[in-house]
Symmetry: none
Amino acid sequence: MTEARPQRADAIRNRGKIVSAAREQITAHGPDVGMNEIATAAGVAVGTLYRHFPTKADLVTAIVAEYVAQVADDAEAACERVAGGADATHEITAFLRRVVDVSATNHAAKAAAQTLGADLRVQADEQRAGAALATLIRAGQADGNVHPDVTVGDIYLLFSTAPIDQSPAARERWLTLVLPGLSARARMVG
Amino acid sequence: MTEARPQRADAIRNRGKIVSAAREQITAHGPDVGMNEIATAAGVAVGTLYRHFPTKADLVTAIVAEYVAQVADDAEAACERVAGGADATHEITAFLRRVVDVSATNHAAKAAAQTLGADLRVQADEQRAGAALATLIRAGQADGNVHPDVTVGDIYLLFSTAPIDQSPAARERWLTLVLPGLSARARMVG
Amino acid sequence: MTEARPQRADAIRNRGKIVSAAREQITAHGPDVGMNEIATAAGVAVGTLYRHFPTKADLVTAIVAEYVAQVADDAEAACERVAGGADATHEITAFLRRVVDVSATNHAAKAAAQTLGADLRVQADEQRAGAALATLIRAGQADGNVHPDVTVGDIYLLFSTAPIDQSPAARERWLTLVLPGLSARARMVG
Amino acid sequence: MTEARPQRADAIRNRGKIVSAAREQITAHGPDVGMNEIATAAGVAVGTLYRHFPTKADLVTAIVAEYVAQVADDAEAACERVAGGADATHEITAFLRRVVDVSATNHAAKAAAQTLGADLRVQADEQRAGAALATLIRAGQADGNVHPDVTVGDIYLLFSTAPIDQSPAARERWLTLVLPGLSARARMVG
DNA sequence: GATGAATGAGACTTCATTCAT
DNA sequence: AATGAATGAAGTCTCATTCAT
């Protein structure tokens, strides 16, 4: 509803190829890959790339936006399962595990976004994700498993820095270390 | 005893100014600040910068090395206090809090190091830090406050993901959330 | 048939302009002219220059290659004239005179090539030139005008150092002094 | 007689070391060696180098000047031997052979001089060399071995193109090819 | 709409030369 | 006089972006 754009089929296809290629290239070779490399990897010429994304920042923004949308979808699905009777704590944990995995593929893109000063307000999807997450947390707190003072911001705080460039084993261990902090049970004494 | 280098006083002073300026600039404007900007901030000409650090990678390496040395010193000091009777758990927590703070100033430098493919083997200091940390952990475990399976690697893993680019308040909250994972007490159920 | 590269017309034109401008600039201002100067002289931006020649060494190599090709063509043409009945000795002399002239425009480029460690193996053309020259020499020896022990290497030895940075008159005088050494007649006594 | 300079013994010694080192470095690593490299090779600091030679051009000029003086000495010695009855043609040939050898060590220095736009008017020594050479040529012409129209300029022209960066064997071959041109006997027909 | 050559600001680095010690 | 650290202009090369084809 933002803007009407009845694009040609191949144009839409190209957009998708470009975003995917960009994510892959940035993940593989760091946030500084050139636009030409991305274009080549996407099988298009730079000019085409720039028709879809007038700026490198726009491209990176799109990558991150796609990632946020995916997380939002995931959170909402978990929400619905909880509404349908699934265990809240289990859903939270599983969701966070998936988030860590997905983030691994988007870490470099976010770094690039920061360097480029890209505008990351993907408000719609971010709010969807936030809302779903809030629901999940409330459900967990109702079950008595999630600590009463845990907020959506806490989750962001923790998971925005997950060790996504590490091995799956390391990521799993990280979850083991981090999840207790969300638990209703005791907290370590400073 | 490694290498004799009786340098001039002003040269040493410049080296220090350069490393500080570089850390500040990189922290403030991201890992891609130009060498000219760093030199200007340090109050020297580019040539001087290059006399001290033949390569941008060398400069970044030096920044990180200094950081590692500082952490190592800190860990050893905590160790000694524990040996002198101080509370291990408290020392660990305080140490980690300080690490998070120091890391905040070095995050971008490490990112730069990675981008530049800099060689970060600062073995001596890294081993000092590791050894001291191991001692602290053992002490905490002896007290029954630190979970028996916590390792030095766990600490590295966890604190490599500290939200060092966030506000002090956020960092404090992060500690609150994360420290329970090291505690001997229960872990959240997946 | 070596590699298909149906380039754009203007790109080919630019390549030519760049090589010409580079030869001129290097000839005029020495082997150390900047790439920016060359680009400006060619009427393009540096970036264009680098698109065609990723390295200064590549550019210089191209200049020399073009020169070698030209000499090879010249030698082969002389060869064919001799095969058609022309006087071998006259053709050799005339060829060498032309070589000296052409070399004058490429001296600095070769110096630059050496400084830059450029790879000058332009084998195909070099062998063409060598073969044609060998034929010419044999014809001259058959006529009894060229000394029996003269080789292609001798010609290279002599003409690789022709006084190409001197006036045409000086070059002509130089030929007068040097050509007797190739003659079948007596050699000076050491 | 140009300027009175009662220098300290070590200063004089340094000057010699610097010129030698410069010649060696330039010969070994090309005309673009840095002043620091030369200073280091000479066992002094750059500052000292600059005290003796305010400019790189000055240094290179000094190298070439020393070379010219050496050639002049050599030519005069040959002259005296001829005056004492030695064979002129033999002395010329031997002198030229030595010149080619000495030039080999000074080629790069001369190239550097040209690049730097150094002023190579070493008039005194150049005139000494020219005068001696003229005498030698006249003696050879009197003997009937040197072609009547050969001038000092011819010798300069010819030997400015000696293949001084080639092997001794190649240089010897070059002499064999080039000396006939100075001979009184026939010249090749164009 | 797509293509890819051209653009040009700016990055890193070198090196002749100066000057405080 | 010697030393060597500092200077800064200039050089090579990269890359986001534009535009003719």
